[in-house]
């Protein structure tokens, strides 16, 4: 078998099996629709709360954390520079 025909066979195999799997999935997914949903389960429909809650907490924490981090870094840098410049001034004053 030439390289091209071998690759063609492989690709055909992959495509066929993917389609088979997809059809199987669809068949499986269609099954719950046949079942009757009990009333208690209907309360869970609509938007669920946990992703919203997590997103809210996550945003708050992230915003505050980023701000504190940036603040900390700037403070370190400025105080470092200030110490340097003060040292230079002191050296010059001694001369």
């Amino acid at each position: 078998m030439t390289t091209t025909t071998r690759w063609a066979t492989r690709i055909r195999g992959i495509v066929t099996s993917t389609i088979a799997l997809a059809m199987g999935n669809v068949a499986l997914a269609q099954q719950p629709q046949d079942r009757f949903q009990p009333l208690s389960q209907q309360a869970q429909e609509g938007i669920s709360a946990s992703p919203l809650l997590l997103a809210a907490y996550g945003f708050a924490w992230a915003a505050v954390f980023i701000y504190v981090f940036l603040l900390w870094r700037r403070l370190g840098k400025v105080e470092h520079e200030l110490a340097d410049v003060n040292a230079q001034l002191a050296k010059r004053a001694r001369r």
Partner: protein
Amino acid sequence: MRTARWLVPASLAVALLMFFRAPYLINAAPEESTMGAVQKIFYFHVPSAIVAMLSAIVSGIASAMYLRGRRPMADHVALAAAELVVLFGAVVLATGPLWARKAWGLWWVWEARLVITLIMWMLFVAYLLLRRFGGPGSDVLSSAVSLVGAVLVPFVYWSVNMWRTMHPTTSVVPSLQPEMMKPFLWSLAAFLAFYLALLLTRVRLEKSRAALEQAFLALED
């Protein structure tokens, strides 16, 4: 203004301890009857709003003092407080819609409290932009801006009572049950302690920056 050096680490420590305990308390709090679990956003949405409004008032008072006496420390506090309004205001404006999506079915509604809060936030963003891009003299000008922002705060607070809205009214907090009141107060105290730590640190940064500028000028002589 001589602040005790222990105040920053102390308030920071208090805040962190409280924040570690807070999730347990919030989790233990009962779920609200109509809104369910998503109502728990309340425990830091409202404290953030309180801190943002408090910071706006602090910035306004500091600005008024700066306009009066031109003391640099007043300006530092005004700027630091303005930044924190933007930070905590962003938290409020982000967590609110996330809660609203579940509770009201909408992300946003064009009504009194939301709009005026957004405006107050925008105003302090404008304050920061003015400081950044206004050039010399912008410290005095921005004081007027933050004064106006501070004056808007009472309107934010009472707008919800004046105008029938979807947003819960201010009577919700005083009438909380003890099981909800405790985590709320805990969370509020944590936020306030944290705010204090942040404000003091930011003021210190501003003071050091001003000192650095002075030192550079002295060096050039």
